[in-house]
Symmetry: C2
DNA sequence: GGCCTAGCCTATAACGTTGTACAAGCTATG
DNA sequence: CATAGCTTGTACAACGTTATAGGCTAGGCC
């Protein structure tokens, strides 16, 4: 920057002012500086800028694992939206462990970023509140439902109810639910299960706890859950995987065992990951408005970062959803 | 750091020395400093450290799109390996456009990272060489095969030959190849196609250009390619997708049209993404040793960063591969 | 004519670390 | 007991920016 200043015959600070689009600079001076910059191929040192300004123009994204398609697709979108607003996204994988989540919340990772998009899976609201630090944090997902936090989420219960209603409208009466979590009522599994129960009730179909199976939210979780169900002899004519990975694993297992989908058993999921469209048969699921989630969570976080007041209360944003009826449950 | 120094009754630099594990510090002094650090909850400012040292301890990873499963899985592994060595990974999506690739190579992104893992798809070796800058760059993939660069790649031709041989051994004689790129001989499509041709030759099966179809390396590319092939009336009894996404798209399209897999047509892919295991039928493919690629590329890049000499010539690392025989082509 | 304001630019001091150079204390040696 | 050599600690400058405060000019107003 010194060289640029010398070449343009102005002071260091004037070059800085040009770069920062300071208002009161004569066009002629500005041009001289820009010419010098172009000639010397100067690029501002971002580290020094960060040190002085206290901003890194990076956003932190904490998720359990990038290799999970839902998170990969979300991360990709978030990065594109953030780039449009002049920010980068630094991703941290927590592996869904409390220790990693905590270190992402308060460790060096936090220093590198101006704000955090946080998908907690294990930490509770109290712990997060105690360690959230001064910089803005926006929660993604449902694990935290607390007015102290900004939260971007989806209409879990409504969407689950809608897809359950769709299965019911197709004449299914014994709809197995895969991916429940014991005792949960407020997190994604609980909310979606709740939507399922609402839809049953609305249709006058009795709820059977034997149809609710716990499992990991992964393909192999769904596969073994449906295997267990078949082994137990509980009859069912449809499977609702609480996310697409579970549903796809279940679909795979059903087909391996020679069960026809959707003729014998219909299958539905939740998330609308790309893979769902190309499964065989293609997977009926619900699209939770990922584009909207990405747009609005980035916008909210950047507003918190750049906005003056620290916002007394958390904002709650719920993205809309859309049913994707495909061949696994037409 | 000032506060810590004052609390411990030592100088600023002594605190810095403790943090940097400088050798000549009396245990008593060191303990005083550590106590003060613990009491005050001090954390070193990474930005200042970067400014002073010129290192960020971040590695750049340039790929086309994180929502592509292969890249998502690779990124996830790379991040874990890097974390084990005290580095973070900053991901940049190029969208496979030359402009983005170039800006990732020489723009501000470069400043933020000590070295680059670069998956070029459009830029040629000359352009990259001209703009690579001073910091280390390790190439991933096959697009660049040039002794000037460090390169971590896989045994494309051998693996493609092996999987083709497997299809041949199953009695298939008309194996369609999806995902070729016109004129290419040195990039992934070209190398894999070449392996296919070698295997045909070794088995004494004549090569038929009508079986080679160009398409995007995505699920819908594979789907429309196989659709085109069926429409053209060219007979085939197997499909080799040059990556798993293509193969999965093709598989989907075949099943939709009522073609039995593997009875009528066998399907094979390349990459062994997680999705392949859970496709229905599960996808026969080749695992290109992603774990090895992740380990070795990070190790190489960090060696280049921390090593003294800038390494006159590029190193070439080829990971091993493994056939994954599944139901789509048993 | 003197004073004030707006517009434009600059000198200097930070931001929080690490590298360099050197000083002080201690031990071993002749 | 002086000296050399090692160990341990310190002061100061530097990394490349931006913030603060203020200087200088030109024009308008009383």
């Amino acid at each position: 920057m010194n060289d640029v200043a010398r070449a343009a015959g102005v002071s260091l600070k004037t070059v800085s002012n040009v770069l920062n689009e300071y208002e009161f600079i004569r066009p002629a001076t500005k041009q001289k500086v820009l010419d010098a910059i172009a000639e010397l191929g100067y690029e501002a040192n971002l580290t020094a800028r960060s040190l002085r300004s206290g901003k890194t123009r990076m956003l932190g994204l904490v998720l359990s694992d990038l290799s999970i398609p839902y998170y990969a697709e979300l991360a990709s979108r978030l990065m594109n939206v953030a780039a449009g607003r002049g920010y980068r996204v630094l991703v941290e994988q927590s592996g869904a462990t409390a220790a990693h989540e905590l270190s992402a919340l308060q460790g060096p990772f936090r220093q590198l970023t101006d704000g955090l998009l946080f998908t907690p899976l294990t930490l509770d609201a109290g712990t997060i509140a105690a360690h959230r630090g001064a910089k803005p944090v926006v929660m993604l997902g449902e694990h935290i439902a607390d007015l102290r936090f900004d939260l971007v989420t989806m209409k879990n219960a409504e969407a689950a109810a809608a897809i359950t209603a769709h299965l019911l409208s197709g004449g299914r009466r014994r709809i197995a639910v895969l991916g429940a979590a014991a005792g949960d009522t407020a997190d994604s599994p609980g909310l979606r299960l709740n939507g399922y129960r609402q839809a049953l009730k609305a249709a006058g179909v009795e709820f059977d706890p034997a149809l609710v199976v716990e499992c990991d939210w992964r393909r192999d979780g769904g596969a073994s859950a449906v295997g267990g169900l078949l082994g137990s002899g509980v009859p069912f004519d449809a499977v609702f995987g609480l996310n697409d990975a579970i549903a796809l694993g279940a679909l795979h297992e059903l087909l391996i065992r020679g069960i026809q989908v959707p003729d014998d058993v219909a299958v539905a999921g939740f998330d609308d990951i790309e893979e769902a469209r190309f499964a065989s048969p293609s997977l009926t699921t619900v699209s939770p408005g990922m584009a909207e989630i990405a747009e609005r969570s980035i916008a909210l976080l950047i507003d918190r970062i750049e906005g003056a007041e620290p916002a007394a209360e958390g904002l709650r944003i719920e993205a809309g959803f859309e049913l994707k009826i495909r061949d696994s449950a037409p």
